[in-house]
Each structure stands twice: as structure tokens, then as C-alpha cells.
């Protein structure tokens, strides 16, 4: 093959490669939403553009240098780079508006740099944003891949629930809520504290409280975290009422089994050691606040 041929092949490869890997990146969020359509996710890579060296480094490593793992994780999904400015001047405001229009970044964004996963309707669904997830392209790509995979699964379940009715609707929705790391749009989060459940059970006996809480759980659908919190209310009540360690252990284990890695799973693990005969604790050997 002569030199010319090689150059042609190289050129075409570049073109094809570019289309596959970078083709899904858009200039603006609006374009990304349009491109994604109803069922596909949109990924926002947010970074601090004028105040944060960590962000700039991450941008350089992940995006500007087209990191292979990150690009692979983004795959064919629509994505957009969002420069976030601190105390922006007019030029910087325009830069941001060019990408995001008049949209604010969602409340679920807790730290920058990050990847935010939105749905086609512009709802915040999930994020890759912790230090551990964002500290290397490999870790971020892994987390993003999982999140996007889960998005597809969850989105199907949501759509299935939209089509279904009665018990089937509820079942599909429950499955959607069980998909880890992602929020289901329109699902109103249940918090046993703000809803008054924690206070309400105080005047009840253990058996009454158990009935109320089991009924509530059966009513669903709930996210795993919500189920853990509802059970936490019962576990706390049993402890304060002086319930048996065996009963407590069983409740804490139930909480843990739902998701041992969540904060409530971790809490349950600690509580077993402290209060359910699972270990000793110098700081708090016996439950306090028993009424």
C-alpha cells in the first residue's frame, strides 16, 4: 500500500472513530436533551472552570484528553460539558448560558467536578460525584458505566409502570425504585421523621407499632433507603421500649440485608454490636432514652 493509501485509511479511521466516540457530545444541554429523546439519559460533566485546580485537572484528564475509559463509559449517550463559574463576569455568564441556557444545576449536585445523569425530560436522576468515584478516570468510568446501565434498566421499568395498572403498575414501580443510585421522577420521598411516624409510634406498644409499620411497608412502593428508614423507626421504638436483643437483632439484620452498604445498613451493623448483643461498647453499653 502506498503512502497515499495509508493517509486515506488514517483519515477515514479518524473520521469514523470520531463519529463513534465523540459524536454524542453536544454544545448545549438543550441539544443534548433533544438528541437523547424521551428514554435516553443525558450526562452533564460539570467542572469548576475558574476557581478549582482539581476540576481543571479532572477536565484535562477525563475530557480534554479524551480518556478512553471515560469515553467508553459515555458510549453513545448524549453528553455535554458544563463549565461552572465562581463569581462569574459577563463573559463567563455567557459561557455558562451558552451551554445551560437559563437552567440552574440540579440540587442533587453536591460536589464539583462530577457527572450528572439527567433524563430526557430534564429530571435529575443520579450522580457520580464522591471523591472516591472522581479521583481517577478508571473509577469514574466504572461508576458512570454502572449508573448508565442502571438508568436503562430503570427507565424500562418506569415506562412499563406507566403502561401498566393496578398491582402490575405498583410492582414495576417498586422494581424501578429498587434500581440503585438513581431517583425515580415523581416519586415523593418518604421520611418517617418529617412525616411524624417516629413521634406517632412513641405512644404505642411494640406490637401495635409493629403492625403499623408492617402495614406501612406493605403499602409501598418505597426505595430501599425508605424501607430501611421505616424499619429503623420500628427498631428504635423496640430499643426504647426495652424489647429483647433477639428482636432487635432481627430488625437490624433486616435493615442491613436491604442494603448493607448504605448509611442505614452501616448503622444497623453498628447497632447490632452496640445494642443487640453483637459486641461490646464502652461508650454506650445500654440503650439510653428508654421510656
Amino acid at each position: 500500500m502506498n503512502r497515499m493509501g495509508i493517509q486515506i485509511i488514517l483519515g477515514l479511521t479518524l473520521l469514523v472513530g470520531a463519529g463513534c466516540v465523540f459524536g454524542a457530545q453536544t454544545r448545549s444541554y438543550a441539544d443534548a436533551l433533544k438528541k437523547a429523546g424521551k428514554s435516553k439519559p443525558v450526562v452533564l460533566f460539570c467542572y469548576g472552570a475558574n476557581y478549582d485546580q482539581v476540576s481543571l485537572k479532572t477536565y484535562e484528564t477525563f475530557i480534554r484528553s479524551r480518556n478512553k475509559e471515560i469515553m467508553h463509559a459515555l458510549g453513545k449517550e448524549s453528553w455535554v460539558v458544563v463549565p461552572v463559574y465562581q463569581e462569574p463576569n459577563d463573559k463567563e455568564k455567557k459561557e455558562y448560558e451558552k451551554v445551560m441556557g437559563n437552567k440552574w444545576l440540579p440540587g442533587g449536585m453536591w460536589s464539583i467536578p462530577c457527572f450528572l445523569v439527567m433524563d430526557g425530560a430534564g429530571n435529575f436522576r443520579g450522580a457520580v460525584q464522591s471523591k472516591e468515584e472522581m479521583e481517577s478516570p478508571e473509577a469514574a468510568a466504572k461508576a458512570l458505566t454502572t449508573l448508565l446501565k442502571n438508568f436503562t434498566i430503570q427507565q424500562k421499568l418506569i415506562e412499563e409502570s406507566e403502561r401498566a395498572s393496578g398491582d402490575n403498575k405498583k410492582k414495576a414501580l417498586q422494581k424501578a425504585l429498587d434500581v440503585p443510585g438513581l431517583k425515580v421522577p415523581g416519586h415523593k420521598e418518604y421520611d418517617p421523621v418529617s412525616s411524624g411516624l417516629v413521634d406517632k409510634v412513641q405512644s404505642m406498644s411494640i406490637s401495635e407499632a409493629t403492625t403499623v409499620i408492617r402495614d406501612l411497608l406493605a403499602g409501598g412502593p418505597y426505595t430501599p433507603l425508605e424501607r430501611q428508614m421505616i424499619l429503623a423507626t420500628l427498631a428504635g421504638h423496640v430499643r426504647h421500649k426495652g424489647g429483647s436483643p433477639a428482636m432487635l437483632r432481627s430488625l437490624y439484620n433486616e435493615i442491613k440485608e436491604i442494603d448493607p452498604t448504605s448509611s442505614f445498613g452501616i448503622y444497623a451493623e453498628g447497632a447490632i454490636k452496640l445494642w443487640a448483643g453483637g459486641g461490646s461498647s464502652a461508650s454506650s453499653p445500654s440503650p439510653s432514652g428508654t421510656n
Binding site: 497515499m4 493517509q7 488514517l10 483519515g11 479518524l14 473520521l15 470520531a18 465523540f22 459524536g23 457530545q25 454544545r27 469548576g48 472552570a49 475558574n50 476557581y51 478549582d52 485546580q53 482539581v54 485537572k57 480534554r64 460539558v81 463549565p83 465562581q86 463569581e87 463576569n89 459561557e95 451558552k98 440540587g107 453536591w110 460536589s111 464539583i112 464522591s130 471523591k131 421520611d191 418517617p192 421523621v193 418529617s194 417516629v198 413521634d199 429503623a232 423507626t233 427498631a235 428504635g236 421504638h237 430499643r239 426504647h240 448509611s263 442505614f264 452501616i266 448503622y267 453498628g270 447497632a271 454490636k273 452496640l274 445494642w275 461498647s281 461508650s283 454506650s284 440503650p287 432514652g289
Partner: protein
């Protein structure tokens, strides 16, 4: 296809691919984004050879910290409102003579406690020693400020210059020389005196400070006077200590920033801390940013009385974060004074420890403005899902070990209340190197973050803020803003600080006349220089305690300058430092009122921030010796302040309190008011009736009357309570509800209408301003008393006179929920209470207590809510006592 064509195609393809996306541009506001650590060349100081024996790092004396970071905070940062007492603010630092004056200039407290450490061998100079010059004329002050302006500009430019890479000059006093600090001090002191002369005027001082080496000498003298000779000797004993002193004393920028960028109390300990830092990190001694971090962390930890271990950890955190590029770019722009807010943040054992800071730095990285809403990441939960109370021991216990006791993480996952939320937001900003702090509010915790030079508030509810980090021990919000404005105006403040330091030195050398001229000039050049004002007042008190002209001048100058924008600070200064000296020297009432008016004239509104005028009024009132003087003063104060909507409510409330106090603390409720109290009441009622009630002033009138009514209720003053209520109805009728109340009455007359009603619940600002509605609760129109039913909350009615009670009807806005239990208690004296045994008849919003068979005589009745159900707030709209009053019987 020609090779040119192919290349062209490839070029187009590449251009298309690259052009498809837009690349954000790397920049920091148009500047180069890369931050390079500026390394100044190593100074020509003798180097420590490895063979040289290393004495131990001098450790600070083991002291009990005067204030632990958690003194008002529980383990999880649940901080309440801090009450600052005078004792807390007084410095307890011992005065020294031969070891320098550790507390003279920049510490807060009563100037009485501070004094000039005079140098024993300083010769008396004729026409100087103990000669207090007359107060300067306005013309002279103008000349001084004009002369200082050029110097201020030059110093400001110097600061900018100092940020550029430069060569550190050869030290005049090397490590060897520092082994005899006394000799260094004498050399520098003699040089200064030789150059400036025996009788320097303010103009001479400004001229003298025009030379850079003279400014360095003044800063060096200040270092001796603040650190003290024995501490300096101690530090110089250590090889790194001597190196530190040699480097510090040869670097004008570092020395100036160490001495003139905020408080320097306990500087001796601060230098020992710095020695410890640089012993661990010798290379950092030459890094300007590391120096800034070291100096501020060391001086703040020393000043606050915190331990060395915590200080070293704090230094490591910020220095490492800075070097690794993990801090917000704001940190690069900070000066020494505002770096203190960051490196000196309080909770070094909890929220401010390195692991918590690192977690927030890495997991709550946000643009500056977003830190004010970082609290959204936490759930407000008084009880967690397990039913454990946030103030109990078990709220976080099970996750502590697994979450490595990282407070922000634990609270984000489990929940918290205002303390945790505010600490989360503030410490996320601090972790990124951004000035921020938490602040107490009544039964609440909020925080503030500095955004673009402005301190913005987050999570705030009330106007009362008790700042958790202060420069001068004064916790009001205004003092934070004062510190910000003072140090922001860098040029003038540096000139003022240098002159004040020179004045301090001259005072120590018994050159009284020049010292006072120096202080005069220091506060003229920078009227916001709070520490200089304090030092001035302290010195005047020592040298001219009965010089009426001088104290009058101080009073008027504060009113003319500091009070222009900072009403609270000026009022605090007058009340604490000026009036106790001045008022006994001014027996003439008119003259005195004129002095007061000079201040009030500046206060058309609150100024920087809502503030409490009561301490100032008390200080002025306390200067009155006779009842006639008191009445006269009150009349003046009321007539001046009632015309200012921001102050009318406060002055009314103060007047009621003052009247109550003047009537004698031991006075019984049933006693007739004293003649003085009668007069006071008339004055207040008359003042209230002159309150404007046009549309524009309607809100101010309503708020003012509400505050006054709250005070009347607190003081148990039925007559004033009623007078305010009637006046409110007359002037602000629209604000009262128009209920059509229907209920079954008891026999007899309503005998509570002319009484007083008081709630024991802590009222927020909005509730206090609506206090006139409390009066409405006793009237047929109805009113409103919010009852956040928790703890021991009660609502008490004091009848105009006692009487035989037939029954009580209480009305609520919404139906009472099942399970809520109320009891009624009665008392004849307000001290001894009996629970009535009558059955409560509850019908939706109406609660009735039938006492017709009980034959109870009482003057007080109170409704008590049983239990501690915080979720059942109710609103009382009517409280009617039926019966026959003793008055009608008489």
C-alpha cells in the same frame, strides 16, 4: 487524487471532528491558571549544621484553654446562642513591665486592665513626661490625614510589590545576634529615638514612617513589646527559633503582616508555635504562602489558647491542601488578616479537624456562592429515624466507627439540626480555604460565608448573631463587618497601626505628650481602627482620667467618625470606655444631652445592621444621679429616638425596663408604683401617643408598640400593657383580627379585659413585633398568641385586680387535637399556684373551665399544656375570665 487533496481532506476531517465540540478555555479570570509556588532565595542566615545539637522545641506552657471550641457546642456542633459576658471579654493576660506589654494594644477588654509597660530606665523629658496636650483642632487633624494619605498609598503599593518574587535582604540581626534580644531591642529603640527626636509631633511621626527601614524598626519594636522579652529569649534559644526571628526581622513584609494584620495577644506563644511548625517543615520557612499559613495558624491558635498539636495538624492540612492545589482559588488572594478566619477556625477537635476538613474539601467542592446552600445536603432531624434525639448520646453512635467519626459525613447520612447544618455549610467553605464561620442566634445556629468581600448569611432566622470567630472578643455582627472594612482599607490601616505602635513605644518611654499625639493621629488616619481607639482610651484613662476636654473630644470624635457607619461599635465604645470617665465630669444636663445628641444625630437608621441600643441607653441613664436627672434624660432620649422608626420600639421597651428598675427591685406586684415610676409611665405613654402612624410609618409603629408591649408584659406592668394595647388599636386597627367569636359565656363580667397576658414561650423577632395581638387575646376582638407547645410553656393572665372567678373560656384558632391535655392553675400572688380541679370542657376550638362551684379567688390564671409534644403548636386567640373583681366589690 493528489497528495495535496488527500491532505486537504484529512485536514477538513480533523477540523470537523475538533470543531464539533467546543472546548472550554482554561483560565482563572483571564490569568494564567497554573499556580507556582514562589521560592524566595535563601537568606544569608547561618545554617544549622546537622552536627549541631538540636535543643528541644520550646513547648508552650501547659495552660487550660480559656475557651474550648466546644464550650457552646455539643459533640456534634449543636451550638446555641452565646451570651457574652463582660468577664468573658476581659483579657486576663498579666501585665508585664520588663518583658514587654503583652496586652496593651490589640486585645479586647476594659482598658482599665491594661497599661503601658513603661521602661524603667527611660529618662524623663521636660515638657513631655505626664504632659497631656490639648485635643487637636480640626485643622490639625485634617493636616495629619492629608500627610498620611500619601504614605497610605505608598504602603498599599508596597503590599502589592511584596507579593512578587524578591530577594530577602541580608538580616541585620542574624541568628547569633538573636541570642541577645535585649541588645537588639536597645539598638533599635535608640535608633528610633535618635531619628525621631525627643519631642516628636504627629507630623514628625508620619514623616518618620515614610522611610521603609523606619517602618521595619517600628514593627520590630512592636514585636518585642507584644511578644515580651522572656518569650523572645525562649524562642531564640532554639536553633529554628533563632532562624525564624532572624528571617522574620529581616523581611519587612512578613514582619509587617505578623504585627499589623489583626490581634497579636499571646504572640510569644505564637512564635513558639511557629518555631514548632518550621522545625517540622524547614523548607516552608522560605515559601510566602506557607509562611502566611504558618503565621496565621500559630497566632490564632496561640491567641485562642488552643494546643500545639491541633495547631500543627491545622497547618499541615492547609499547607498540604494548598500545595496539592486542592483549595479554592480564593485562598490565593487572601491576606494575612483574612487567612486568620480560615486557619484559625474554631472546631479543631471536631468539624475543624483535618479528617473532617479533608472530607468536606473533597466531597463538598463548590463554587463560592453555593456554600451558602450546602445545608440542603442535610436532613433537618431533631430525632433520627431510630427515634434518638440529636442532643442525646445515641444519635450517631452506631455509625461513628464505620464512618471514622467524620462529622459532616455522619450528619449528612443520618441528619442533624441547625448546628450540624450550619457547621456543614461553614466548614465546607473553610475546608476549601474560604473565610466563613458559624454564628449563634437565639436558640438557633446559622453561618456566614464571605463572598466577594461581603459576608453573606446562610441558614439565618434572627437578626441577633453571636459570631463564633472574633478579632476583638466582641461577638456582634457589626464587629465582623468593622474588621472587614478596617483591614480592607489596607493603606490607611497600616499607617494607623504603625503610628499606634509608635505611640505605644513613646508612651513606654514616658513621652506622654508625643504618645497622645500619636494616638490622636492613629485614629484620625483610620477612624475604623477599633484597637487603636481602645489603646487611646486606655492610655488617656491612665494619664488624663479627669481631663474633661480630652474625654469630651474623644466622645465627639467617636460620634463624628466611627459612628458615621458603625453605630453599634461606636455605642459600645462610648458605653464601655468613654461614659464611665466622661459623665461624672459633666454635671450640666444640657451639656450632657448635647454629647448624647452628637451620637444620636448619626443614627437615623440601624446602619450596618440591626443592633441593640439598650446598653448605650443604660450607660447614659446610669450617669444620672438624681430622679430629676433621670426623668430629664428619659424625656430627651424618648423625644430623640421615638422619631426614628428603627429605634422607637427599642427605646420604649428600654424605657419600660428602666422605669421598672427604678421602682426598686424588691417592689411587690400589688404595691403602688413609686412617683418616679408614675412619671416614667406618663412620659412613655405620652411619647407613644406621638408616634407617627401615617401609612409609611404604620409598620414601624406596629413593630415599636409590639416590642414595648413585650417589655411591659415581661415587667408585669399592667397599666403600660393596657396603654400600649389601646394605642395600638387606635393607630393600627387594621392589624387586629376581625373574628366573630361565638361561645357560651359564664355568669358574671369579663374581668380580664383590663389585665395583662404573658407567654413563657421564647418569641422570635416576628412574634415580638406582633405582641400587640397578645393584648387582643383579652379583648372581644380576639388576638393571637402562638404557642409552640413544648416543655413548660404557659400562658399567664394577670387581672387588673384580684377577683372571684366563675369560669374561664379559652379560644383557639384551630380545633385542639385529641391527646393534647391542658390544665388551668390559679394564684393570688403569681408565686404559689394551685391546679383547678374543674373538668376541661373542650369543643373544637373552645375550651371552658367551670369554676362556679370552686369559689376561687385569684389575681393570676395560667394555662399549662401537659406533655412535650413539639409537633402540636396551637394559636390562642381569646382568653376570657368571668367573675366579679375585687375592685367592683370595693
Amino acid at each position: 487524487m493528489s497528495s495535496k487533496s488527500i491532505k486537504l481532506i484529512i485536514a477538513i476531517v480533523v477540523a470537523v471532528v475538533l470543531g464539533y465540540v467546543s472546548y472550554p478555555v482554561f483560565h482563572f479570570g483571564g490569568q494564567k491558571q497554573a499556580k507556582t509556588v514562589v521560592q524566595t532565595p535563601t537568606p544569608a542566615v547561618p545554617q544549622v549544621t546537622p552536627e549541631e545539637p538540636q535543643p528541644e522545641t520550646p513547648q508552650p506552657e501547659q495552660t487550660t484553654p480559656t475557651e474550648t471550641p466546644d464550650d457552646t457546642t455539643d459533640d456534634d456542633g449543636q451550638k446555641g446562642f452565646e451570651e457574652t459576658t463582660a468577664q468573658e471579654e476581659e483579657t486576663t493576660e498579666e501585665e508585664t513591665t520588663e518583658d514587654g506589654d503583652n496586652s496593651f494594644m490589640f486585645s479586647d477588654g476594659d482598658p482599665d486592665l491594661r497599661g503601658i509597660a513603661e521602661e524603667k530606665d527611660a529618662p524623663a523629658v521636660e515638657g513631655q513626661t505626664d504632659v497631656v496636650p490639648p485635643a487637636p483642632q480640626e485643622q490639625k487633624l485634617r493636616a495629619i490625614t492629608t500627610a498620611a494619605r500619601n504614605l497610605a498609598d505608598a504602603l498599599q503599593d508596597d503590599e502589592k510589590e511584596a507579593k512578587r518574587p524578591r530577594t530577602t535582604p541580608t538580616p541585620e540581626f542574624n541568628e547569633e545576634a538573636w541570642k541577645d534580644p535585649v541588645k537588639i531591642y536597645k539598638t533599635v529603640a535608640e535608633r528610633v529615638l535618635k531619628k525621631i527626636g525627643q519631642k516628636p509631633t504627629a507630623e514628625d511621626m508620619i514623616h518618620f514612617l515614610g522611610e521603609a527601614e523606619n517602618r521595619k524598626d517600628v514593627a520590630l519594636i512592636s514585636l518585642f513589646r507584644k511578644a515580651g522579652m522572656s518569650d523572645l529569649k525562649d524562642v531564640a534559644q532554639h536553633s529554628m527559633g533563632a532562624k525564624l526571628l532572624a528571617t522574620l526581622s529581616s523581611d519587612p513584609e512578613w514582619l509587617c503582616n505578623t504585627m499589623f494584620s489583626g490581634p497579636t495577644d499571646k504572640l510569644g506563644r505564637g512564635l513558639r508555635y511557629m518555631t514548632a511548625i518550621f522545625s517540622d517543615h524547614p523548607d516552608d520557612l522560605m515559601d510566602p504562602t506557607s509562611r502566611r499559613i504558618a503565621t496565621t495558624a500559630a497566632t490564632e491558635f496561640a491567641r485562642e489558647g488552643w494546643d500545639q498539636e491541633g495547631m500543627l495538624a491545622r497547618y499541615d492540612y492547609y499547607n498540604t491542601s494548598y500545595k496539592e492545589g486542592k483549595l479554592n482559588k480564593i485562598f490565593d488572594t487572601l491576606h494575612y488578616w483574612d487567612t486568620r478566619f480560615v486557619t484559625g477556625n474554631r472546631e479543631h477537635n471536631t468539624w475543624g479537624n483535618p479528617k473532617c476538613l479533608a472530607w468536606e474539601r473533597d466531597n463538598v467542592r463548590l463554587p463560592l456562592e453555593r456554600y451558602l446552600s450546602a445545608t440542603d445536603q442535610l436532613h433537618y432531624r431533631m430525632k433520627n429515624a431510630f427515634g434518638d434525639h440529636v442532643h442525646g448520646p445515641d444519635y450517631l453512635t452506631p455509625v461513628r466507627a464505620a464512618m471514622n467519626d467524620i462529622h459532616p459525613l455522619m450528619h449528612r447520612e443520618i441528619g442533624g439540626v441547625c448546628g450540624a447544618c450550619s457547621h456543614y455549610g461553614a466548614y465546607a467553605a473553610l475546608a476549601a480555604g474560604i473565610p466563613a464561620m458559624t454564628m449563634g442566634e437565639p436558640k438557633h445556629c446559622a453561618y456566614t460565608v464571605r463572598v466577594n468581600g461581603d459576608w453573606k448569611k446562610g441558614y439565618t432566622i434572627f437578626w441577633q448573631h453571636s459570631m463564633h470567630k472574633t478579632f476583638w472578643g466582641l461577638h456582634d455582627w457589626e464587629f465582623l463587618i468593622l474588621a472587614q472594612k478596617l483591614y480592607e482599607d489596607r493603606g490607611n490601616t497600616l499607617v494607623s497601626d504603625h503610628i499606634a505602635a509608635l505611640a505605644d513605644f513613646l508612651a513606654a518611654r514616658r513621652l506622654t505628650r508625643s504618645a497622645i499625639e500619636g494616638f490622636d493621629a492613629a485614629v484620625a488616619v483610620q477612624p475604623l481602627n477599633w484597637p487603636a481607639w481602645q489603646a487611646f482610651a486606655g492610655y488617656l484613662k491612665q494619664k488624663a482620667p479627669e481631663d474633661k476636654a480630652r474625654w469630651t473630644d474623644l466622645c465627639l470624635r467617636i460620634s463624628d467618625t466611627l459612628a458615621e457607619n458603625f453605630h453599634d461599635a461606636a455605642a459600645t465604645f462610648l458605653a464601655r470606655y468613654v461614659y464611665p470617665q466622661l459623665l461624672p465630669l459633666v454635671p450640666n444636663l444640657k451639656e450632657r444631652n448635647k454629647l448624647f445628641a452628637a451620637f444620636f444625630d448619626k443614627c437615623d437608621s440601624y446602619g450596618v445592621h440591626h443592633w441593640d441600643i439598650t446598653p448605650l441607653l443604660n450607660a447614659q441613664f446610669d450617669g444620672c444621679r438624681t430622679d430629676a436627672e433621670k426623668l430629664d434624660y428619659m424625656k430627651t432620649a424618648l423625644s430623640v429616638l421615638m422619631s426614628k422608626p428603627d429605634y422607637s420600639g427599642s427605646v420604649l421597651a428600654w424605657g419600660l425596663d428602666a422605669a421598672a428598675r427604678s421602682s426598686g427591685e424588691g417592689q411587690q406586684d400589688d404595691q403602688e408604683p413609686s412617683p418616679l415610676q408614675e412619671e416614667f409611665s406618663k412620659l412613655i405613654t405620652s411619647a407613644m401617643s406621638h408616634m407617627r402612624a401615617g401609612k409609611k410609618d404604620q409598620n414601624a409603629t406596629w413593630n415599636g408598640l409590639g416590642e414595648a408591649m413585650y417589655a411591659a408584659a415581661e415587667n408585669n406592668d399592667v397599666r403600660t400593657f393596657q396603654a400600649i394595647g389601646k394605642l395600638a388599636m387606635q393607630k393600627c386597627k387594621k392589624n387586629f383580627p376581625k373574628y366573630k367569636l361565638k361561645f357560651r359565656p359564664f355568669s358574671g363580667k369579663v374581668i380580664s379585659t383590663k389585665g395583662l397576658i404573658h407567654t413563657s414561650h421564647k418569641l422570635g423577632d416576628g412574634d415580638v413585633r406582633n405582641c400587640c395581638l397578645h393584648w387582643g387575646v383579652l379583648q372581644k376582638t380576639g388576638g393571637s398568641i402562638p404557642m409552640p407547645m413544648g416543655g413548660d410553656g404557659t400562658v399567664t393572665v394577670k387581672l387588673e385586680t384580684g377577683g372571684l372567678i366563675n369560669g374561664v373560656v379559652i379560644l383557639f384558632k384551630k380545633p385542639i387535637q385529641d391527646g393534647q391535655r391542658f390544665t388551668l392553675e390559679t394564684s393570688e400572688d403569681g408565686q404559689n399556684w394551685s391546679q383547678v380541679t374543674a373538668t376541661t370542657q373542650l369543643d373544637g376550638t373552645v375550651m371552658r373551665f367551670d369554676l362556679q362551684d370552686a369559689k376561687i379567688n385569684a389575681r393570676y390564671l395560667r394555662l399549662v399544656k401537659e406533655g412535650d409534644d413539639k409537633n402540636s403548636a396551637v394559636e390562642m386567640i381569646g382568653f376570657y375570665v368571668y367573675g366579679k373583681s375585687n375592685k367592683s366589690k370595693a
